[in-house]
Every structure is written in C-alpha cells, then in structure tokens.
C-alpha cells in the first residue's frame, strides 16, 4: 500500500506526459533535439553567445514587465521611477537588473556578431541569418536608446535631445523623422509617451518576430563551422548532441550570465539623477552610453576636421556606408565562399573591431 502510494505521483506524471504526447507529439521534438548535433572544435566556445544574448533578452522581458507594473509614462515618469527606486521593496534591484541586463545584452550581441563574422558564418546559405541578426542588433540599440529616456532624469533628457539632433542633420528626411519621433520641437512628456509605446510594444513586437525567424534559420541550417574546421577531413571532425550535451552547457553559460548580472545589479545599483529640467544646463562631461560612444567620437572628430554642417553629414555618411558594407559582406566575400581562409575579410573584421574599441576608448579620453 505504502509503496503504491509513493509511486502514484510518478505514475500520474508519466500518464499526463503520455496524454499530451499523443496529442502534440512532444517525443518528435525531443527526438529532433537529440538528433541535432553541434560541431566540436577549438572555436566552439563562440557558439554560446547567441544563447547568452537570448538569455538577457528574456531577463529584459521579465524585468521589463515588472517595471511596467509601477512605471507611469508622461508627466509622472520621473516620479514613478523615483518610487520604484527608493520606495518600493526591491524596486531598485529590479530596475538595476533591467539596466545592467540591457548593457550585457548589447555586449553579448556584439560578441555574437563578431564571432559569426570571424567564423564566416554569414556564407551561403546563411545570409539571412546574418541580415536578421543585424536587424536584431539595430532593434537592440533602438530599445536601448528608447528605454534610456523613460526615467526622465537629466542624463536621459540630454542623451535623447542630443541623440535626436544627429539624425536631424540628414538631408530631406532628417527633420521629418525626428519631429515624428519627438512629437514636437522639444523633448517632453509627449516624447516619453511615444518612446514608451516604442519601447514596450512596437520594438519588442518586431524583435520577437525577427528573433523567431533567426532561430528558425539556426534550426534549419545548424551551426556553421569556420573555414579552418572545414579544412579538416569529415572523418576527423567531432560533434556533440544538442540535447542533452550542448543544452546542458548552454544552461551552464546562462547560469554564469545570471550570476554576473546578479553581482553587477546588486553591488552597483543603477543610479537615478535629478529630474530633467529644461532650464538646467547640461552637466559637465556628459556623454552617451558606451555602445554609442564610437559613433559619438566619430562625429566629434569629423566635426573638428570639417567645421560646420559638413562634419556631421560626413560623419553620418561614414557610419552609414560602413554599416552597409558590413551588412553586405555575404554578397562580396567570394573567397570565403569557396571555403578558403579569406585573410582579407578576417583583416577587415579586425580593423572594424579594433576601430570600434579604439574609438570607444578614445571617446572616454576625449570628454571635456
């Protein structure tokens, strides 16, 4: 009797699983996951970064919904964030988690992008993976920019004001696009309201949609192997099953990511500056977040070299053309296409990587 009782929950669970499996075919999914394999080589480590980016995106979803419970867009924005940060239990931790996770997400998306680039994983048939990934990067940066305004403290206000002045310099479409985003001549409650709509509804909607496409492509094509591994004869290559082996390693990476996030969010709580006031001058040494620092520095340098409006337009042009060339790499990198080790492309990648990091560091030294 006692033995039967102790077995009952297990039997019930097995029965419930069978009932669902008969109707939804869970076994097929699991079987597919077991069949799928992940290549094992000396660069395999870089395969985790897409998953880490996804993890931070999920954290953003959960912590964002929690903030949504108390955040009030519009005129009360600053006050509601002040309440979340100082009055509500653990509000500071949830806000800090959301801010730190956004930074870590952008960082891991960048790492993911460069690892894909250096492994030449954008080659046929994975071009759409590269492009959808770049679209996700763009949305991630736009999410970062729109979310930055929402607390409406002094940094948020000036960052948005400056951030919107830059695209305004674009000929013809610039002013129209910026006025539409800003909802008036000044950054105000109206701007908060529409950035809020963008940040919590519009951008996440497109993000989830494109993310679904991106992940579907990964399922369809599997992990790409770098040219160095392609040179190894088929019989000498190694791989591990996706489930449970790689999945377990993925989870371990997520756990590390969670721990890093918890330490940063708890020990370095995200600050809230004084409320934005149009009559207060911008604080000294104000600068964009690190992920916009390189663009900021380019505009600054071009402004010095080409005084007047020309500097800004050339700076924007520089980034637009550079971004376009970066996006179109699968179309003109023909040597990698033939599975050769394309040193020119690798060097291009190094130049872009070092350039971005160098400009970012330079940006921090170049603050007046």
């Amino acid at each position: 009797m006692a033995k039967w009782l102790s077995r009952a929950p297990r039997l019930a669970a097995v029965g419930a699983y069978r009932w669902v499996d008969e109707r939804l075919g869970l076994g097929e999914v699991l079987g597919y996951a077991r069949q799928k394999s992940v290549p094992l080589h000396k660069h395999s480590y870089w395969y985790y970064w897409g998953g880490v980016s996804l993890f931070f995106f999920l954290v953003q979803g959960v912590s964002g919904v929690l903030l949504l419970v108390y955040y009030r867009p519009g005129a009360e924005a600053y006050n509601s964030v002040r309440e979340i940060t100082f009055d509500l239990d653990f509000g500071w931790l949830i806000r800090s988690t959301h801010s730190w996770s956004s930074n870590l997400m952008i960082l891991s998306v960048f790492i993911h992008m460069f690892s894909v680039f250096f492994m030449k994983a954008y080659r046929k048939p994975r071009e759409f993976g590269w492009w959808s990934g770049l679209a996700l990067l763009g949305l991630t940066l736009f999410l970062g920019f729109s979310g930055y305004l929402l607390p409406m403290d002094d940094l948020a206000y000036f960052a948005t004001k400056v951030g919107l002045e830059i695209p305004r310099k674009l000929p013809v479409i610039g002013p129209a696009v910026v006025d539409m985003l800003r909802g008036g001549a000044e950054v105000s409650e109206v701007t908060i309201q529409r950035f809020f709509a963008l940040h919590v509804v519009v951008l996440p909607f497109f993000f989830i949609f494109i993310l679904g496409f991106h992940l579907w492509l990964v399922q369809r094509h599997g992990n790409a192997v770098p040219p160095s591994e392609e040179a190894v004869p088929e019989s000498e290559r190694h791989s591990i099953p996706f489930f449970p082996n790689f999945f377990a390693k993925d989870l371990a990476m997520w756990l590390i990511a969670l721990n890093v996030l918890a330490i940063l969010a708890a020990l370095f709580p995200w600050q809230l500056g004084p409320q934005a006031d149009t009559l207060t001058p911008a604080p000294a040494g104000i600068h964009p977040e690190w992920y916009f620092m390189s663009q900021f520095e380019v505009l600054k340098l071009f402004g010095r070299w080409f005084p007047g409006a020309a500097g800004e337009i050339l700076g924007i042009l520089f980034f637009t053309v550079g971004g376009l060339l970066w996006a179109l790499i699968p179309l003109y990198d023909k040597s990698s296409q033939r599975a050769m080790r394309a040193r020119t492309t690798t060097w291009l990648g190094y130049i872009v990587l070092v350039g971005l990091i160098g400009l970012t560091i330079l940006g921090y030294f170049d603050l007046d």
């Binding site: 929690l66 419970v69 009055d87 509500l88 239990d89 653990f90 509000g91 949830i94 969670l258």
Partner: protein
C-alpha cells in the same frame, strides 16, 4: 572502487546509485535556492502596495469632515482607513456608522431614505439601517458597526 562498482550484478552499483541520488539532490537544492532568490524580491516588489494598504487600514479613529452638518434622515460616505464607510443621521437624532462594504461580494452599499434601509445594488442585499443586521437577499453577515461620538462639535468615528 572498480571492484565495488561491479559488486552487484546487472545495472548500477550501490555507490553509483547513491552518488547519482546525491548529485540530483544537490542540483535540486541549488535550483530551488536560485528560484527562491529570484522569486522573493519579485514577491516583495509586487506586494508592496498591498502591505502599504494594510498599514493604512490600521486606522482606529476618523473624524468625518463636515459630518456634523449632515441633516436628519440622510447618510454620508467617508473613508475609514482604506475602506468605504457610511455615517447615517437618523430622524430620531441618533447617529450610526457602518462599514459600507456588502458582506456578500464586496460592493459598496447605499442608504435608501425612502425605503428606510441599507441596500446593495449588486445582488439586492438589504440591511437594517439602525443595526446593520442583514435582513434580506444574499448577505451572510451584518455590516460591521462603528462607534459614533460627538467631540467638540465634530463627528468622530472609531472601531467599536
């Protein structure tokens, strides 16, 4: 150890079994600890307003603003802590106050001077206007009565 592992015929040895059980237990414990560490701040965060309301509900006495101006055979709604309450000035010049939340499903009740009763519009519950006793419809319990006193010409309502 190798001897030990094959000590039992067929399947895993006892050592392997206990090791597996130990690892499983430890993993479950660590997993539960993480889940708790994540869930607790979220629980506190979401529950903060409810706890604040509890603090406000701890009120024991309220002065009804302009309560003394209430005419005979009329009622006035006021807030007792977080809850709606009702002050009635009866025709015989007695004063009563009740918690104005219907004991059935929580709607706010009203005083009906013409029918000389307290009524809940949601499901037709009725209460005695002098005692708060449930006299008709679905309410299972009487309305909670407060104590009403006149202090320096003002109406002061307190927990009975």
């Amino acid at each position: 150890m190798a001897e030990h592992e094959h000590a039992e015929s067929g399947g895993e040895s006892r050592l392997q079994k206990t090791r597996r059980a130990f690892v499983r237990l430890m993993l479950s414990a660590v997993g539960a600890a993480y889940a708790g560490l994540i869930a607790y701040p979220i629980y506190r965060f979401l529950g903060a307003p409810a706890r604040r309301a509890e603090g406000m509900a701890a009120v024991t006495q309220v002065t009804v603003q302009d309560g003394e101006r209430l005419r005979a055979n009329e009622a006035k709604m006021f807030r007792f802590g977080t809850r709606p309450a009702m002050l009635i000035h009866h025709a015989d010049n007695t004063w009563v106050a009740f918690d104005a939340v219907c004991t059935h499903l929580g709607c706010t009740v009203q005083f009906q001077a013409d029918k000389q009763r307290i009524h809940c519009a949601c499901h037709g519950g009725t209460y005695d206007m002098h005692t708060g006793r449930n006299i008709g419809g679905p309410p299972p319990k009487p309305l909670k009565a407060y104590k009403v006193e006149m202090k320096d010409g003002q109406v002061v309502v307190s927990r009975a």
